[in-house]
């Protein structure tokens, strides 16, 4: 448990939303949550205010909080922004790469290779996350890294769904290879271009997303 109940509840409820335990559109009753977690309504309300500020739920005055349903189109838009931010991170990483970042990227990249070779989609899911985080960090921009991490977190469930698509695993890893090459070569523009393509959802990948979202 975190140092105060409010933050703990925020993380707890956030995870419940991201793991689809609370479905989009569902109403979050303060009293129910309070008894469920064995606390009073006060910290529950504080957690909800924060989630509202982040954009995970919507608090309609006097009418309670509901989990926001992004819908395929908005998720697409979020991936579009994510692609742009990751592209920037990649281009910065290419320019500013130092030894530690280079090793971190190499290490996570190697782990991705293993998971991809093994066809282990769950393992790849985690390793892929670490790989991308290594690139955020290599960009050496604290603000950008924070923005990337936050958006990455919100997109986590959809990312997971995407990996289930046929061949996506090996395709993804091949793209990683090219990205690593560009960054290590110091080619910021190429790294940016490749990352935009890697993260964004173009063409048939959008219908894959819609299908997987509908399947839940």
């Amino acid at each position: 448990m975190s140092e105060n109940v409010g933050r703990w509840l925020r993380d707890e409820i956030e995870n419940s939303i991201l793991s689809n335990e609370f479905s989009p559109g569902e109403r979050l009753d303060e009293t129910v949550l309070a008894t469920r977690f064995g606390v009073s309504r006060t910290p529950v309300r504080e957690a909800l205010m924060q989630l509202d500020a982040i954009g995970l739920i919507e608090i309609r005055p006097r009418r309670g909080a509901i989990v926001i349903d992004p819908g395929p189109h908005r998720v697409y838009e979020m991936f579009e922004v994510m692609a742009e931010l990751e592209g920037l991170a990649g281009s910065l990483a290419a320019r500013r790469l130092d030894k530690a970042s280079r090793e971190a990227i190499n290490a996570t990249h190697a782990r991705c290779e293993q998971s991809a070779a093994a066809g282990d989609s769950d393992a790849y899911y985690y390793d892929n996350e670490e790989f991308h985080k290594a690139i955020y960090a290599a960009g050496r921009s604290d603000f950008l890294e924070e923005q990337c991490l936050q958006l990455h977190r919100r997109l986590r469930p959809y990312r997971r769904l995407q990996l289930r698509v046929r061949n996506r695993l090996s395709t993804s890893f091949l793209e990683h290879c090219a990205i690593v090459d560009a960054i290590f070569a110091g080619d910021g523009d190429e790294a940016r271009r490749l990352l935009r393509g890697h993260v964004g959802i173009q063409g048939e990948r959008f219908s894959d997303l819609v299908a997987s979202m509908a399947a839940r």
Copy 2:
């Protein structure tokens, strides 16, 4: 006043921070704020939680809330991300431009021209804001628009300082012209490139920023 005191307080305190009424590093005492606004501590706390989630203040458990001091380097990073997001908005606008957006951009652009010609830096400050907002809207991506507006809001005070720099007004307007041309010509890549340059803080503009921040 908004529909509930918490939101009203959030906006009120947010404005006070952005207008530098509460200086960076300053401690925000819940009781003081409560008496100052004539309410109890409960809505004050809720407002503070939201501001913490947005990133304007930091709440250290059991040790109160302080206004975050971005510092020149972090402000630079924020402009860097802003430039990237605006670049995306511009490229989308170039591709998706419709009649209404075109007219909105033209109208705000014309107002910028007048303020720039008059050398009225305060008027230009407002018109410039509307111009950029018109581009966000023209991109037709709700999520991107929200992100742009949020970051734009946080950077507002620094943007204002920047306009005070010699010749910045006319330079800025000339850049606007090129941006409008690129968007109207449907050249997304060029619009992106120009907006990145227009918004980002390269070269001597960084030292201008540092100087103006120190001058406060």
